[in-house]
């Protein structure tokens, strides 16, 4: 038994050192966000373990949220961008997935193949043409512009995944609903949506993380003005324009992480399930 035990010790030690390597950078940021500017530049964050005096302050958070940087506004903007940008594409994709799976109409196959083929198009392709169209109709800089852009860039994958799920639902229940006189719309609302909840939830979590953490789409279609910008945009401009205010940057980074990390930890099970079903942004 002895050699097996030693290999177990080795494995556990390796796992522990992996955990340390993976978490230390984040812990460093977390500690730094509670240190004063002087302390940050005078000593490494790890020194608080040997010299803990005067290490703790909430000033950074107060200043970054309500001071000149106004990250509180950016937080609200991120919220206003994210919630509809998650729900809208899922709703549209669910309707489309049902249509492709359970309705018969000319051109169904061609349209569906086109939708799947569009998975390959990187969103960079769309930036200039969509921006031009937005400017022409004076839509740029509005929430609607960003929601629809996120919907456009997420729809191909959402439709594809939800189609895979919805088309596998048992045929009998959908047919019996139709015999009972339910319209397609009623069937969809009363039957398909509740039954597809696991798939919808998995994709919702994924789209949520994607939109909340996005920089490129928000930066292009919402802009970097302080009033409208989302948190990622604000953080990047903080690193650029005043690269030396690290104490604010750390607090700001943490504010931007709280919500996705909480969602992630709370819904990890569904998220993993979604990943295994292939909810991977192409």
């Amino acid at each position: 038994m002895r050699p097996i035990k030693w290999s177990r010790v080795a494995i556990n030690l390796t796992v522990i050192s992996l955990i340390v390597v993976w978490t230390v950078p984040t812990i460093g940021l977390f500690i730094t966000s509670f240190r004063s500017k002087d302390a940050i530049y005078d000593s490494g964050w790890w020194t608080i373990f040997t010299n803990p005096q005067g290490a703790f302050t909430l000033d950074n958070y107060e200043q970054v949220l309500f001071g000149g940087d106004g990250l509180a506004t950016a937080f609200l903007n991120t919220l206003a961008v994210t919630v509809p940008a998650v729900v809208i594409p899922i709703l549209i994709a669910a309707f489309a997935a049902y249509g492709f799976a359970w309705m018969d109409f000319p051109g169904r196959r061609v349209l569906f193949i086109t939708v799947v083929a569009l998975l390959v198009v990187p969103l960079q392709i769309a930036l200039i043409p969509v921006l031009k169209a937005y400017l022409a109709i004076d839509l740029n800089g509005t929430f609607l512009a960003v929601w629809l852009a996120h919907a456009g860039f997420g729809l191909a994958l959402a439709t594809y995944l939800l189609y895979n799920y919805i088309s596998q639902l048992p045929k009998d229940i959908i047919e019996s609903a139709s015999i009972d006189g339910a319209s397609h719309f009623t069937t969809f609302r009363r039957l398909i949506l509740p039954l597809s909840l696991p798939a919808l939830a998995s994709f919702a979590i994924f789209q949520f993380l994607w939109v909340w953490n996005d920089l490129l789409v928000a930066q292009t279609f919402l802009g970097t003005d302080k009033d409208v910008a989302v948190m990622t945009s604000r953080l990047v401009s903080m690193t650029g324009s005043r690269g030396q205010d690290w104490q604010l940057l750390t607090a700001g980074a943490f504010v931007s992480m709280i919500v996705p990390v909480a969602v992630f930890l709370g819904l990890q099970r569904y998220f993993v399930r979604g990943l295994l079903a292939g909810s991977v942004k192409g």
């Binding site: 177990r8 494995i11 556990n12 796992v15 992996l18 955990i19 993976w22 230390v24 950078p25 460093g28 940021l29 490494g44 964050w45 790890w46 506004t73 609200l76 903007n77 919630v83 509809p84 709703l91 549209i92 309707f95 489309a96 492709f100 309705m103 086109t114 390959v120 198009v121 960079q124 392709i125 769309a126 930036l127 969509v130 169209a133 509005t142 929430f143 609607l144 629809l148 852009a149 919907a151 729809l155 439709t159 895979n164 397609h184 969809f188 993380l209 909340w212 953490n213 920089l215 490129l216 953080l235 990047v236 650029g240 700001g252 980074a253 931007s256 992630f264 993993v272 991977v280 192409g282």
Partner: protein, 371 residues
Amino acid sequence: MQPAGAVSTPPPRGLGQVLATGIGRVLVSVSVPIVAFIVLWGGFIFLKDSGAPRIVIVVVAIVWGIGGVAMLYVVANWLTEKLPTVWRGRILPFVFVGPAVAILAFYLLIPAVLTAWASLFDANGKEFVGLANYEYSFTNPDMVIAIRNNVLWLVFGTLFSTGLGLVIAVLVERSRLDRLAKTLIFLPMAISFVGASVIWRFVFSYQPAGETQIGLLNAILGAFGIAPVSWLTGEPLNTILLVVILIWGQTGFAMVILAAALKGVPDEMLEAGRIDGASEFQIFRKIIVPTIWPTIVTVATTIAILTLKIYDIVYAMTGGNFSTQVIATLMWDQAFKFFDAGRGAALAMILLAAVTPVIWYNLRQFRGRAI
């Protein structure tokens, strides 16, 4: 609730009644969409110009955005139900798939065509220049560096995220710390690349020799008496260090998916290998890896796509300075900093060409697995 004009199969009536009902129907059918439109338009104007407190605007925006889309579907469905049965059957499928198809056409299909077209024109889109933008893209020194960097991202990012993910998945399975380790290593996936970049600044930070090092790496070097290194200014080391941030973020993703695949490896196969006297490493190489190979390919291609399109980390860490630019950051610079639409478009097309075979392969693997 049925609106007054929509009563079906009334008792026999005179011509005047029929006409009145008909007109009523038309009136209701027209007015409902108009009312819906006015409500939506009012919301749009409010959101655009209102000086209301931010929190009010945010709440209104969320309700208006989600409610508006739901309302459009309800109204469209309601309208089609007013139609004769034959037409209803023909039109209803397009109420369901139409919005998705229209949005995809507007946001991906038409832009792809326009971008392909624009890539053949000069900076202002006026003069036809043939393939000059592509020629520039492959000969300009900046661009050559960007392509080299994207290759570094692709090779190192994909190899290490997938490889480490696999090794950790195997190790963690045999450890009692599996739940904790999985959660903590997976966690960076919830953090934006921008946030991750801020985190890693405190690892790579550099001060000239003699001053206090506040970056973790240089502090560790200092503890061994080694002079500090300016990590992010020397190429190509800086790009590889940026890739480390991606690996930190993506290894957890690879680990979780590969760990699930490992559970699918039959125990009998592993036992048989052990009885035959194979070492644990041989079992890993000869049994485990071949069995879960399709999943490994799926994970690797997914991460490969991410590395080809990488943008945020470079933008947030170095801004593309010190020869760290990649295709996506150059594309953004050309399009929005130098306003050269032609070159920006050509770079976007190069990105499309690079990503297409990988996604195609990824989808094929995925379909083989799922169906």
